[in-house]
């Protein structure tokens, strides 16, 4: 039954990727009868719900302390300067970047190797391995905090960014691997075999033929790994104790928990936390609906 999950839900999702454009065309024609206002009115309402919170954060970040104006004018950079320097968001930003990029590289590399094995080979423990990948989705990361803390303590990795990178990568791996194996299955085996006939080894054939075709999938999986570890908060909160090792979400949490919350600084910190994610999001947006849909599953 759990395997049905992979077959029905996760595996075929990437398979729809090449049909994306066709899908768009198919979509047309269904809606000829829909009056425009029935689209624009609910959409406008929903957009308000989505955008007001973002606007509210920008407003607080840009208007001077004490102002109650509803437009961020006159504009000030005081909150950004304060948060970046006094509240160490400059250092947090750097740490978050290290964690995000390292998790991205590790997750993608390890998932690529594993995904290739799952897509191209039949081997004895494959079924059990897939089952383990799916079962791992039910394990609450938050409940693993204490045993993980003890492991990292024994490895003397507490208060090192490496512990967070490993923890983020591990919890990111199962789904990334399932996704990537789906993408690899979409590349016809015959292409690879052709390269072997031409005298390439398996590895060279993979790099020359399969890898270029996997680009969209790898970008999606990699971006997701980055966004996830950029956002995630509990591991960093638990494993990193000294101020100069903390990440942006932990810094935000400190600002939230302060006795008298400095709303301007909090908002500016929020904007700093949002910017990289927004850039990545804008970049992967077009893959989101197609190849990426199953990856969104983890949130």
């Amino acid at each position: 039954m759990t395997t049905a999950l992979a077959e029905k839900g996760l595996a075929p999702a990437p398979a729809t990727a090449p049909d994306a454009d066709k899908g768009k065309k198919r979509g047309r024609g269904i809606d000829q009868g829909v009056p425009r206002w029935q689209i624009y009115l609910p959409l406008a309402l929903y957009l308000l719900f989505t955008l007001i919170p973002f606007y509210w954060m920008l407003l607080f970040a840009l208007r001077p302390a004490g102002s109650t104006s509803l437009v961020p004018w006159p504009m000030t950079g005081e909150h950004f300067a304060k948060v970046w320097n006094e509240r160490s968001f400059g250092i947090f930003f750097q740490n978050s970047m290290i964690v995000g990029v390292s998790s991205l590289v590790m997750t993608t590399a390890v998932a690529l190797a594993g995904g290739y094995a799952l897509a191209r080979f039949d081997f004895k423990i494959k079924k059990g391995f897939m089952l383990a990948l799916l079962a791992s989705q039910f394990i609450p990361g938050a409940l693993m905090l204490v045993p993980l803390f003890e492991i990292f303590k024994n490895l003397q990795m507490i208060n090192s960014l490496g512990s967070v990178v490993i923890a983020e990568t591990v919890f990111q791996l199962p789904l990334s691997m399932i996704l990537i194996s789906g993408f690899i299955k979409n590349v016809p085996v015959s292409l690879e075999e052709q390269a072997w006939v031409d005298g390439c080894g398996r590895f060279r054939a993979f790099c020359a033929v399969v890898l270029p075709l996997l680009r969209p999938g790898l970008i999606a999986v990699g971006s997701f790994a980055f966004v996830h570890s950029w956002n995630h908060f509990l591991f960093a909160l638990m494993f990193l104790s000294s101020q100069d090792k903390q990440t942006i979400p932990v810094g935000l949490n400190t600002l939230i928990g302060a006795d008298s919350v400095d709303l301007g600084a909090l908002a500016a910190g929020g904007v700093i936390a949002a910017v990289p994610v927004v850039i990545v999001f804008a970049f992967i947006q077009k893959w989101l609906i197609t190849g990426f849909s199953a990856g969104a599953v983890k949130g």
């Binding site: 979509g27 047309r28 955008l51 938050a142 791996l173 956002n231 600002l255 929020g270 983890k298």
Partner: protein, 319 residues
Amino acid sequence: MADAVAKPPRVTRRRTSRTSRMSGTKGKGSARRLPYLLIAPAGLLMLGFIAYPMLSVLYYSLQNYNVTKPWRNGYAGLDNFTKIFTDDPQFWDTLAFSGKWVVTEVLLQLVLGLALALLINQTFIGRGIARALVFSPWAVSGVLTTTIWMLLYNPSTGISRYLADAGIGSYGTSVLSDTGTVFWAAVLAELWRGVPFFAILILADLQSIPKDLYEAASVDGAGRMRQFFHITLPHLKDAIILSTLLRGVWEFNNVDLLYTLTGGGPAGQTTTLPLYVANTGIDGHDFGYASALTTVAFVILLFCSILYLRLSKFGGDNK
């Protein structure tokens, strides 16, 4: 196994299937080892940092293990579990709240996400930009969501102040410290970032419905409502079951938002089971008992998931 297509019996597959033909061309021994080498990094990482911690949780659930009371440490048998079920009202309270939280969130996110997906699947001017904008909260973290909604909810300069200026509500309304409003305040914040997830998944599936089905239905005189209930919804069934299940598990497990937004309060009103476990294990240092709670939570989650898949007849052929 991962192929949805039915496969011929094992012996013939060995000879004919593509995958084994591939490994056949390279020397037999190395080809047999290769898949294991390839999954080794992932396998080892998962053994070390998922399987081993899981086992240690199981082990400690049978122990008295509390750093602050070392003299009591030792084998406890099923004492921890007995206490959970017979002598811990907080377990039942937090479990009930978790259930309420998961059901409310998943249901509302599904309904809104489905509506949004249907809406945005239409053709209209500005669709691309509208899509990008309504999906954007998907990438926002729990802590950032808290940041944003704290700014909106704060009693002195939040939305309530401006509403009060306009004559709606009263000044100084603090939705997060009022036991009557805190639940819905948290639900709204989580909805804000949760709806795009469903919208994205459902939209992806919507685009795979063949257009001819709708054309045929139109010719037969079926209205838009009937088309939705007879074509769209049955087609989306598996995607909906899967996404609600995964989202349910995720909402159950995820503590980022509630931990930072309400801290489980006021007065423990918004403490979910995982939050209770974290408090017991981390702040209370009672790791044995927290492990037992973890084990129980995991079993409940697995049981509910299997039950859900069975009851909803996931994968049943009624497309």
